[in-house]
């Protein structure tokens, strides 16, 4: 089981950041690596159990199911159903925590999964640095660097 963990500080209140990322169908509107997204079977994008079907800018198709959504904890947990990354049992959580000292947001994005031996470093780079940090960098740009 591989674990990837990335965290960052975003210069906006957690409520504000959460409203930008809460919807499971909102990836293309805030993450620069995502080209398009739709929710399968005409479900609403914040319904636990719904499946998002999206493409990355390099053409990869990914399907993910929303496993948990908490407006109380500002967290969202999902699993990969299909992807070109060749990973198994992939479950990820994106979570925000208010920083009371300064009205900022502590953002964490983590994933656990299985993969073929020897691919740990490569996947750690694509997922941790590419997807997760790439998303945080976009949020930091959007809300202003600090």
């Amino acid at each position: 089981m591989i674990k990837v963990y990335v965290s960052s500080v975003i210069d906006a209140a957690a409520d504000t950041v959460w409203s930008r990322i809460r919807d499971f169908n909102s990836l293309p509107s805030w993450h620069p690596a995502i080209a398009d997204s739709r929710i399968e079977n005409s479900q609403p994008g914040d319904r636990v159990g719904c499946i998002r079907h999206f493409h990355t800018r390099d053409g990869g198709m990914i399907r993910e199911r929303l496993l948990g959504l908490s407006d109380y904890d500002y967290s969202c947990t999902y699993e990969i159903l299909e992807s070109p990354m060749d990973v198994e049992n992939y479950v990820a959580t994106l979570k925000l925590t208010p920083i009371t000292d300064g009205n900022l947001t502590f953002a964490e994005w983590s994933a656990e999964f299985d993969c073929a031996e020897g691919r740990e470093r490569e996947l750690n780079e694509t997922i941790g640095n590419g997807v997760f940090q790439g998303g945080f960098d976009a949020l930091k740009r959007h809300f202003g660097l600090r």
């Binding site: 963990y5 990335v6 965290s7 960052s8 500080v9 925590t97 208010p98 920083i99 009371t100 000292d101 300064g102 900022l104 502590f106 964490e108 470093r121 940090q133 945080f136 960098d137």
Partner: protein, 490 residues
Amino acid sequence: MLQKLVRTAVINAPIGRVWAVLRDFSSHDRWHSAIDSSRIEGKDRSDQVGCVRSFALKDGNTIREQLLALDDREYRSTYCILDATIPLQRYVATVTLKPVTDSQRTFWLWESSFATPLGMERELRDLVATGVYEAGFENMRRYLSTGQDLHSETALSRADVMPRALSLPTQRLVLDRYGEADVMKLEAGEAHAPRAHEIRVQQRAVGVNFLDIYLRRGWISGMLSLPGTLGMEAAGTVIDVGGGVTEVMPGDRVGYLSALPGAYCTVRTVPVSAVVRLPVAVEDVTAAALMLKGCTADLLLRDLGHVQQGTRLLVHAAAGGLGLLLCAWARSLGATVIGTVSTEAKARIARKHGCEHVIITAEYRFAENVQRLGGAQLIVDGLGAAAMDENLASLARGGHWISLGQATGALPPISPDALVAKSASFSRPVVFDFVSTRAELVKRTQRVWDALASGALKTPMIERYALSAATEAHKHMESRASAGALVLLP
């Protein structure tokens, strides 16, 4: 009724350092302003789960608290109040740290639940939230910024119960063979925790020098072993310091210049003897661009060349990083500056920086022109083989030819007879021998910053490249198309 309280903050220090303080259940009298004294009851260690601490607060209150849980993997400590002169009931608190992975800072969550007598909910809540937690964040910042956690006798004597300081991730450009610019590859590595007389730097700008190119090509033996990383100088912020370091503190902005290559990276641990604090007026990129070149110029003009009013100085590559500094600085000392450049565009740049007589030559032909001006009393030569004969012919009687680099190839041996004809001298200094102690380095860099402040030196033109684009930076420099200094941004 139980109330819940949460306060969170970000501390500008790596998690290992913050945790080393907080995991000690009795450290608070060293850093928290509300605590007058703290001791562990009985003979327990201060990190033993179950131990009891006895606090005397500055306001006269006393509190006894018990450590219920300690987790080094989750960076978490949970404790409760046993009895206190403040009416906090069923008080259980948890401190949790998390790393901010993209900036090597620490997220700190401090939460608790407790009950109070009727009517005192608000008052006690504010006391804990403001007087203990928020004040604690501020006090911890101040405590770490002064580096007391690293210096205090107590911290050292308790070293056996502290976790060892952690290595930090760094990205470095590694070459495993000598060759063209594309031999450098970005690799993940670790910057070890600083040992005695070392500091660890979060780098923000890295200087690129011709020396780096010579080392990369394997032209200088013994300085760079493989696999290795290039780079002699950088600027950034001190993350933490090792034992015995009093010259700089965590959070200080510093630059360093070291004879040991390895600066092409994001985080690096270096000996404090190579480090100087940067004045507010000197930006990171300026320091990275100027430390080696500025100290070299200072050495050449002042110690070796004795440049003064009327000295005739010949500078090759006058529009290069070092060339521009030499032109401007020598001019302000009253010298007559003659420079060679390869193009008209570069000639304009050199003139703007104080080069009075510019010779444009792509074929290293300049001796005739220099002799017409009376011959060079001092030559600063980075060209090497292709310009050897012309340099000899350019020298004035009693002149001094300083060979610093060999961009066109290694100099063949020079016969003493070639020098005796003009009573000339030839030298081949290595700047690192002249900044080998911290005192010398501080003195030389200070002269560079002073020259910048007085206008004798202008902040040079700086071309910036991402660290990952070092290959392009080297190619650009080797193509002779660059002007001014090159800096990599990690």
